[in-house]
Symmetry: C2
Subunit: 274 residues, 2 copies
Amino acid sequence: MKFTEQLAAAWQKNNSLLCVGLDPDPAKFPAHIKNQPDAIFRFCSEIADATADLACAFKPQIAYFAARRAEDQLEALIAHIHDKHPGVPVILDAKRGDIGSTAEQYAIEAFERYQADAVTVNPYMGRDSIEPWLAYQDKGVILLCRTSNPGGSDLQFLKARVGAGDTAIFEHVARLVADEWNTSGQCALVVGATFPGEIARVREIVGEMPLLVPGIGAQGGDIEATVMAGKTAAGTGLMINSSRAILYAGKGEDYAAAARKVALETRDAVNRWR
Amino acid sequence: MKFTEQLAAAWQKNNSLLCVGLDPDPAKFPAHIKNQPDAIFRFCSEIADATADLACAFKPQIAYFAARRAEDQLEALIAHIHDKHPGVPVILDAKRGDIGSTAEQYAIEAFERYQADAVTVNPYMGRDSIEPWLAYQDKGVILLCRTSNPGGSDLQFLKARVGAGDTAIFEHVARLVADEWNTSGQCALVVGATFPGEIARVREIVGEMPLLVPGIGAQGGDIEATVMAGKTAAGTGLMINSSRAILYAGKGEDYAAAARKVALETRDAVNRWR
């Protein structure tokens, strides 16, 4: 099944726009797990099992695995999610970006080795650096557009001269993706929750295209603004990511239950504004 | 020793501005190596041994290893180069880019796990995505500026309004790095050889900062233009990368000797214009 169809089905079935980010930092794991040899797999898979009926996607961040030689645990985690929770797609958060021949290798890494359903990609190197990803037409290709970090403005918010008028770089990326790169309907964009006005601007440009929105916490100060700015007419179109607030909600043996509680609250806080 | 000092020493000792790119594709390996369990390590380390006295740096591309579950062979390769050829720094070509907490993990991957001397990084997410790399002050941080692929123009060549006038995005990146990010003198930039005029423009902006220049082949049609545009007053300042033309110069058991021959020709072709 195509990623976009999986995502749409998960939005409905789980009545959720919540993407659970899996950024495993062993220093923050509960004591009973911390020193086990497969601690990362165990922690993440228990979080996944506890939240799968509340999520529209899972998003493991590959750096947390690579920093600890835990690629095998990432493979096992994605296989576990596909096996136990087949309705919830897995986005590999890798933000790769390179020339075509190298991008082909990265696409093999993400889609063949890890069997991810979608991947995050950096657009700085342009069209031919994206094409090897697009060649996997069932997979989702989620391009960085407007990121949630302070430095996001350094380049993305510059005004560029395009055609007759001025347009911010992130808007230009949104337009390139919507008008030129998304030929198979498999693209999505990353737009940070810290900038609701810019989410609205991107939504205006890209129509129904899904947006992956990092930057909210369990407290959800800006959940209302994010959902109101980003939802489609159908009340979907968003993958609102929360990582640390869910993963580290509890510090003890009941951490998975604590994670579930925060995931449920976050999902419902989002749903209030759909 | 700092990366920039290692690089300067290698420029002198090997009388070379040549960076040997290690992009191992087993489909292109000689038949006697292709099916060995550690084929990637063996191929790359034999290339490194055959060219170490002709190179100012080695640049393994991580995607080629990750696509084949060969992270262990990448670790072994970098350790081999450090052990056998301590004068030649290793640049991990990874082009990572993410928010600060994730960039910290990527920096652990590159600098602690793989022990790379320098890494390539994508600037699209701005200052705070670069800082975790800069915290390793002895390491080189090589930022994408103007890439050699056709799609490089999609974003990098847009004219942005910065201050009073218009400036191309890649020039703005060069200025940000030179004026603001390079506080410890550890930064370098990627500027493709396909655009000599733009190499000259970047050189003008960044002073003596090293430039990593991909995009030339053994034929070297534009070696003259690249060196003339990019060299510093001292006749250095460049890491001119060649990967496939060297790696796959020979198809038989003598592939390492064939690689050495092309590396020597390329080094000398570069030196003619220093």
